[in-house]
């Protein structure tokens, strides 16, 4: 049972990495990947604790929530990609320009 805690800690690390990438990375594709990492980190923590809380069979309710989350994440990723492509068609580059750029 103690190995599930490793995945929970890794999930926290991946979540924080996603927070970092979402804000600091300039290219929109990286921002989209970073938001995916935030989701994946949360899923890891959920499922790790579903594994830990029971002796035999893991708790099935977090599993259903995570499956829902994965499908929602991919549909949000697809919509975000289409938005990024639209922005790139309009402005010629896939990054958000600062208003005070020289």
């Amino acid at each position: 049972m103690s190995s599930a805690i490793l995945y929970a800690l890794a999930g926290a690390g991946v979540f924080v990495l996603g927070c970092y990438g979402m804000v600091v990375c300039q290219h929109l594709l990286r921002k989209i990947l970073a938001v995916n990492f935030m989701g994946s980190g949360v899923f890891l923590v959920l499922v790790a604790f579903a594994r830990q809380s029971q002796e035999g069979v893991p708790d099935a309710v977090p599993h259903a929530m995570v499956i829902t989350g994965i499908v929602v994440a991919v549909s949000a990723t697809a919509l975000a990609l289409v938005l990024m492509l639209k922005l790139a068609e309009e402005t010629g580059a896939a990054s958000l320009k600062d208003s005070d750029k020289q």
Partner: protein, 317 residues
């Protein structure tokens, strides 16, 4: 067996560490194409992690959706992005200027990481969970696999809203771009032979996953994503089907999932039960009806989103 337990703990430690390291490498790597390929690899490692955490349903869904379909979406979007911005080189400037706000944000993130690790390490491990309630009511749900029972009976409302989210994402994408399949002129022969061989197998696998979801890991989402992957393969190998998602059939398939849930909700309320409370005797039939229509709807939406990200392969838009 002690050495086996030690080995599996070492494997878990390696897998968990490589997940974090790979996520870091993905965010700082220069080449965008390699970044996307590494993201697909990250999805596969996540599928391994789900297997190690005794979550085979999630492993199936992650491998099909998180690694497969996500990777396909990102790759075609990247190709279209490079056509649009007319940049032939794949490098991107990763100039992270460490200005004052960024440094403050990094300090805040480090504090957040410490807090999260502390909280995760100290959370109680003797939780009750909902396993007991689940085990007591499983025989009344119509299926014998707990995850399917939760997804399509006990928490069917969440699945209803999830299908609505899928439809909303498709509508958002459709309002921004034209969703149309453009058969390319020249298709590689190997890809054609591969798709001719794999397409019927993938159809069979998806229907099997749908059927077996009642008793074993599987279900509508895994089946729908394998079906979507089969459609993606069909599109990539130049299938000559005239599909522009404007026709009646395509629209019916896309809204089918949400409509089926709406009809079932109305039926359950009309016969006097609560919302989406299936009568115990017919629960299996309700679940299969919803799963079948849901699988087709999920496949239609995901393959339409793929077409939306792909655009026209021939010209530069």
């Amino acid at each position: 067996m002690e050495s086996l337990k030690l080995l599996s703990n070492v494997f878990d430690a390696l897998l968990a560490t490589s997940l974090v390291l790979l996520a870091w490498r993905i965010l700082v790597h220069q080449d965008l194409f390699r970044t996307v390929v590494l993201f697909i690899a990250f999805g596969l490692l996540m599928a391994l992690a789900w297997v190690r955490l005794d979550a085979p349903d999630i492993a199936l869904a992650e491998a099909a959706i998180g690694a497969g379909l996500s990777g396909a979406l990102l790759l075609v979007a990247l190709a279209r992005l490079q056509r649009v911005t007319a940049s032939t080189e794949k490098r991107t400037e990763m100039t992270t200027r460490f200005t004052a706000p960024v440094v403050i944000y990094l300090i805040g993130l480090t504090a957040l990481l410490g807090l999260l690790l502390y909280v995760v390490a100290l959370l109680p491990t003797e939780g009750m969970g909902l396993n007991q309630a689940l085990a007591e009511n499983l025989d009344k749900s119509g299926v014998s696999h707990p995850v399917t029972a939760v997804l399509l009976n006990f928490r069917a409302y969440d699945t209803f809203l999830e299908l609505a989210v899928l439809l909303a994402a498709f509508l958002g994408a459709w309002s921004l771009t034209d969703i149309r399949h453009y058969p390319a002129e020249h298709i590689e022969p190997v890809l054609q032979v591969l798709s001719h061989t794999l397409f019927p197998i993938m159809l069979m696998v998806s229907v099997y996953l749908l059927w077996v979801g009642a008793t074993h890991p599987g279900g509508a989402f895994q089946a729908g994503s394998v079906l979507a992957a089969a459609m993606v393969l069909f599109f990539l190998s130049g299938g000559k089907l005239r599909l522009d998602f404007h026709g009646k059939l395509a629209r019916v398939l896309l809204i089918g999932g949400v409509t089926a849930f709406l009809i079932v909700s109305l039926v359950t309320m009309l016969i006097g039960n609560d919302l989406l409370q299936f009568p115990i005797l017919h629960a299996a039939g309700f679940i299969f009806f919803l799963e079948f229509i849901g699988m087709i709807s999920i496949a239609a939406v995901l393959s339409a989103l793929f077409l939306g990200c792909r655009g026209n392969v021939g010209r530069s838009s």
